[in-house]
């Protein structure tokens, strides 16, 4: 039965993809992109990848869409008809696609338990995680403990992206509040935003610290945290949001998260282990693993939330200063 849902969702994704090619209004395309992202997130749930689904929903349907909208708001909504006939691209695409489809014929069937992918590392991780790490969520244990180096690199990538956007767009603090013209008078929205902000932040913390036991973790929590503040900025104006979290604080937090992560690694070295070896952090190896994972997830969450907000403020504050 899951197979049926899988087939239908993939079909819908394909239709959405074609619609995105055909539409010329960029705002409409962005809406469809958001739908595409939501559908693929639903597909990830069908395919058992709950952590990925959570990330894709928060990042793809949430932040990416908002960034695209912010870009369109300060450029243009209309896509011009291309001057070239799309014959050559079409040939290239069809040839590549045919080659790739030929390549899939040798791949193991979908859902095949004997596929080579499932033979080696995965079984070991699934077997060892409850014994060595003691957390039920294998994705978290692999992400944060077994492959902690990768994740440290990941956080650095995010941090670098934040610096990159900051270098490209700068950061303009708004003294006066420019209210978005479309939703200026909506009192209901402000009340709801005020009601929801604490709930969203609390929920983000739940996702952060419950990541060991269910879907979730630092990346998702950071994005949800940032989404809460974006909602605040949307309802109450950018100036108020920037007064709530000043620029210097954001910059400090973005760096602090990476530093917390690295410090946990170095702490492990000081206590006689290797870099990012959590076992030595406490007397009991499993407790040490728990502590280490929790600390680095906290670091990841702080950096991701701060960088998301830096990027969002970078885009939106530039737009407002350009308009007025």
């Amino acid at each position: 039965m899951e197979h049926f849902i899988d087939i239908v969702l993939l079909g819908l994704l394909m239709i959405t993809g074609f619609a995105i090619v055909r539409l010329r209004s960029l705002l409409a395309v962005t809406m469809l992109t958001s739908i595409y992202s939501l559908l693929s997130a639903a597909l990830f749930v069908v395919l058992d990848a709950v952590d990925v689904a959570l990330t894709e929903a928060a990042i793809g349907a949430g932040i990416s869409t908002i960034l695209m909208l912010a870009t369109i708001a300060q450029t243009t909504d209309r896509e011009k008809v291309p001057r070239h006939t799309p014959l050559l691209p079409l040939i290239v695409v069809i040839t590549t696609g045919a080659a790739l489809i030929y390549g899939t014929l040798d791949m193991p069937h979908y859902g095949d338990p004997d596929a080579p992918v499932h033979r080696h590392m995965a079984a070991a991780y699934l077997h060892d995680t409850p014994l060595e790490i003691g957390v039920p969520n294998v994705v978290t244990s692999v992400l944060a403990s077994y492959r902690g180096y990768d994740t440290l690199g990941e956080v650095t990538v995010i941090f670098t992206a934040g610096i990159g956007v900051l270098a490209l767009l700068g950061y303009h603090t708004r003294r006066q509040n420019i209210q978005p013209p479309g939703i200026k008078k909506i009192v209901v929205l402000r009340v709801i935003a005020k009601l929801f902000l604490p709930l969203i932040l609390l929920f983000a913390l739940y996702i952060l610290f419950h990541g060991d036991y269910g879907p979730g973790g630092g990346f998702q929590a950071g994005v949800i945290f940032a989404t809460g503040f974006i909602l605040y900025a949307l309802a109450f104006g950018l100036g108020n949001a920037q007064r709530l979290i000043p620029q210097r604080l954001l910059h400090g937090l973005a760096a602090a998260g990476v530093l917390i992560y690295a410090a946990v690694g170095i702490e492990g070295m000081l206590l006689g282990g290797k870099f990012l070896e959590y076992r030595v952090l406490a007397d009991d190896p499993v407790t040490g693993q728990h502590l280490g994972i929790m600390l680095i997830e906290l670091g990841v969450g702080i950096t991701v939330a701060a960088v998301m907000l830096i990027i969002y403020f970078g885009f939106v504050s530039r737009q407002n200063s350009g308009d007025s």
Binding site: G17, L47, D112, V117, V139, F219
Partner: protein
């Protein structure tokens, strides 16, 4: 028939991938190109997650009474890939904003024309 069902996911993924690829190479608008890239990336995510699925398996969160889990390793890879995709999207869009300020357009053809005039 089993071949069709066994490879259905991969084939749709390739169609999606090529849709994104087509947008990137055939459409001159830079924002549309970023969106094409986004579609391409998401289709790669689906490819990896499809490979991780085991028939009758469950989400890789250990629980009493469940013996078959889907492969957690691709999940980890894709989780980080999604975050990187956000980083690239954000940087690409920031570049587009700057290009628009410098050239007054987001259309690649017009940018080329302006470059040739200089």
């Amino acid at each position: 028939m089993s071949n069709l069902l066994g490879h259905y996911n991969y084939w749709i993924v390739i169609v999606l991938m090529m849709t994104g690829f087509y947008i990137v190479i055939a459409r001159p608008n830079l924002i549309k190109k970023v969106i094409g890239l986004f579609i391409f990336q998401t289709s790669v995510f689906i490819l990896f997650i499809s490979m991780a699925k085991i028939e009758g398996g469950s989400a890789p969160i250990i629980e009493e009474g469940i013996s078959v889990y889907s492969n957690p390793l691709p999940h980890v890879l894709i989780l980080t890939a999604i975050v990187v995709s956000l980083a690239t999207t954000a940087l690409g869009l920031a570049l587009i904003v700057r290009i628009r300020e410098a050239y007054g357009t987001t259309n690649e053809d017009e940018i080329h024309v302006q470059d040739e005039q200089d």
